[in-house]
């Protein structure tokens, strides 16, 4: 590996202080915790600023933008939580995000499978077609997309009308992440299955899918969070108030000339909770999922 290590051994006797496996990473001295604290502070404070601002009145925010709430009021948060429109928006957001995620994961893993484990002449070109989807700015594709969905396909103002294009735009990243993951599964698996008389489809169904669990969870979470935060596409496609998603609901707090800033902070703080919770519960599986992807 390195000459440095060998030199060390030659000059100094082996250090026997640390003997436990993996103990080179043991802990926490003060420096490590200190740095961790700084990282946490820098990362979280802006978010906390938003959350705390939700407890203020607009007058208070005007007089003293950077101070503590004075007085602390709960009406912004309670107002949002008791508003039935908020829960309606949350329901729509959830349904659309779930549909998007389902499409992305299923179609994504199905497409990544032959791109990973079959050999055929069109494999690389086909893969590049998907990758190119990553490169084009979505903002400009919106106009023709909108016309097509509302007029030609008549699925405007429905969950599917939003979920399908969102899934389409999430597919490139999904395939990019899933392909190496699927490629990493040893060739022996296929040969073994073949010996047992399984078909390729059966192999996919019974072996590949269960093994790609972590990978699918990864792309699923990324797709869910992406859909949860999406703004432009739902704005254009969801007209009816009963169909709107959470990001669109922010508009309820602004009129043409005025905005209820404190209310906006309260609303957005509450709106980010489901996405965060979802990520929290899945985060362990994400890490192992991405591990497969990047390491091969």
């Amino acid at each position: 590996m390195s000459t440095a290590v060998q030199d060390t051994r030659a000059v100094y006797p082996p250090v026997t202080r640390r003997t436990r496996r993996g103990s080179i990473f043991r802990g926490g001295n003060a420096l490590v915790y200190g740095i961790a604290l700084v990282v946490v502070a820098v990362t979280i404070s802006p978010v906390l600023y938003g959350v705390i601002s939700g407890f203020r009145t607009n007058t208070d925010l005007s007089r003293n933008p950077s101070g503590w709430p004075e007085p602390w009021i709960l009406s912004n948060y309670s107002g949002v939580l008791t508003n039935s429109r908020f829960w309606g928006y949350a329901f729509n957001s959830t349904m659309i995000a779930l549909i998007t995620t389902a499409i992305v994961v299923v179609a994504g893993v199905m497409a990544a499978y032959p791109l990973a484990r079959y050999e055929f002449r069109l494999r690389e070109p086909l893969y590049m077609v998907f990758v190119m989807g990553l490169l084009f700015p979505a903002a400009v594709a919106v106009i023709p997309l909108f016309i097509m969905i509302t007029n030609d396909l008549s699925i405007g103002d429905t969950w599917w009308g939003v979920a399908l294009p969102q899934a389409a735009f999430a597919l490139p990243v999904t395939i990019v992440i899933l392909r190496p993951f699927l490629m990493a599964l040893p060739k022996e698996l296929e040969e073994a299955a073949m010996l047992d008389g399984a078909s390729r489809v059966g192999f996919f169904w019974r072996i590949v899918l269960p093994l790609s669990g972590p990978g699918m969870v990864t792309v699923g979470v990324l797709a869910f969070v992406g859909s949860w935060n999406a703004y432009l596409l739902p704005l254009l496609l969801l007209r009816n108030d009963s169909m709107k998603t959470l990001p669109l609901g922010v508009a309820d707090f602004s009129t043409r000339y005025a905005s209820d800033i404190a209310g906006i902070f309260a609303y957005t703080s509450l709106a980010m909770i489901p996405a965060l919770l979802f990520f929290l519960t899945m985060q362990k599986r994400i890490v192992s999922g991405l591990q497969g992807a990047v390491k091969g």
Partner: protein, 350 residues
């Protein structure tokens, strides 16, 4: 990107011992299989037409959705770029490549391109060492490791709109939290505020972008770190290496594939960055923080010059493509994804 992963496979040391966990049945039969000599047979199961059918079956759902909702609108957008069109009524005013000439000769667009390049370089230069350092930190067995990882990832999960609104408040001149804290600490703050000063605005935007996207780098690197086998660390330890020597000689080189994947994603993201910049500055003040995407929006969509907006987006696409292809060529030289890689790789791992 994925070539990267295949590279990792080619490393005998890294790949072999930490394969994904297998159900015991398959592993068992795999082991048995190894012992017996394998007759060379046609690679892959099934014959030609059946195989094509299977491929079609698997790829079709994704391809259909993709073609209809991504490729077709992109083609339409390219069509619009050849016309002078306000977005309403019929598409009649064909102008050929005039829109492209306008965009490429436009000084504001050229500046925007430069800003994009600055963002690409700075993003990598700042987030790579920082992300690596934090990932190394979080790789140690300290208390609350899981919680720490989640916290670091929170800015990435936050919607761009919310993040932008909050940071705009924080960076307000004089009254914002940052200015207030800096003044209290005696640090001089710019007269126009960070977002209002034409020479500092891009820097301020970079700070916010770093805050937002560092979490992704950390999580990716952490994942890559998990893949480094413990035995290597043990061996080094026995040889008496210090912590930093271990990181320098073992960990970081083995993180190569991970880092390259992340650099690719970061590069593409930096070229396309729109939401955060738009909400913070709308490309201002006085076009100081314009990116190609904000140019496209403010000079194209807002002015109802759809042809120009479409032309700018095609240029953006070409720039991203050039970067992607160049990256693939220069950095991922070992192109292991070609038609017949398996033979060579299998030979390497035996």
């Amino acid at each position: 990107m994925t070539d990267v992963a295949d590279e990792a496979n080619a490393h005998p040391g890294a790949g072999a011992s930490t394969a994904t966990s297998l159900p015991t049945g398959a592993a068992g039969s795999a082991i048995t299989l190894r012992a017996a000599p394998v007759k060379s047979r046609r690679r892959g199961m099934g014959s030609g037409p059946r195989k094509s059918l299977e491929i079609v079956f698997f790829v079709t759902p994704a391809l259909m959705v993709f073609l209809v909702f991504v490729v077709w609108p992109v083609i339409k957008a390219i069509q619009y770029s050849l016309f002078s069109w306000k977005g309403y009524g019929p598409l009649v005013d064909f102008v050929g490549l005039q829109n492209y000439l306008y965009v490429l000769k436009n000084e504001v667009f050229q500046d925007a391109l430069v800003h994009n390049l600055i963002i690409v370089v700075l993003s990598i230069a700042i987030q790579l060492p920082l992300g690596l350092a934090i990932a190394l930190l979080l790789n140690r067995k300290i208390r609350g490791q899981g919680l720490l990882r989640t916290i670091v990832f929170v800015p990435y999960v936050l919607s761009e709109v919310i993040a932008g609104v909050i940071w705009r408040q924080l960076l307000t001149a004089n009254y914002g939290l940052i200015d207030t804290v800096f003044s209290a600490l005696g640090i001089p703050t710019p007269a126009q505020g960070y977002l209002g000063d034409t020479s500092l605005a891009l820097g301020a935007v970079m700070v916010v972008l770093t805050w937002k996207y560092l979490g992704l780098a950390v999580v990716l690197f952490l994942a890559g770190l998990q893949g480094v086998p413990e035995d290597l660390y043990e061996a080094a330890q026995i040889d008496g290496a210090t912590y930093w020597q271990v990181q320098r000689r073992i960990t970081i080189p083995l993180l190569g594939p991970t880092v390259r994947t992340w650099v690719f994603l970061s590069m593409i993201g930096s070229i396309q960055v729109f939401d955060m910049v738009w909400i913070l500055t709308k490309g201002g003040p006085a076009e100081a923080t314009n990116t190609m995407a904000t140019f496209l929006y403010s000079w194209g969509v807002e002015r109802n010059l759809i042809g120009i907006a479409s032309a700018a987006s095609v240029v953006l696409f070409v720039v991203a493509l050039i970067f992607a292809l160049t990256f693939k060529r220069l950095v991922l030289r070992r192109d292991a994804i070609d038609y017949e890689p398996r033979k060579t790789r299998k030979a390497a791992t035996r």
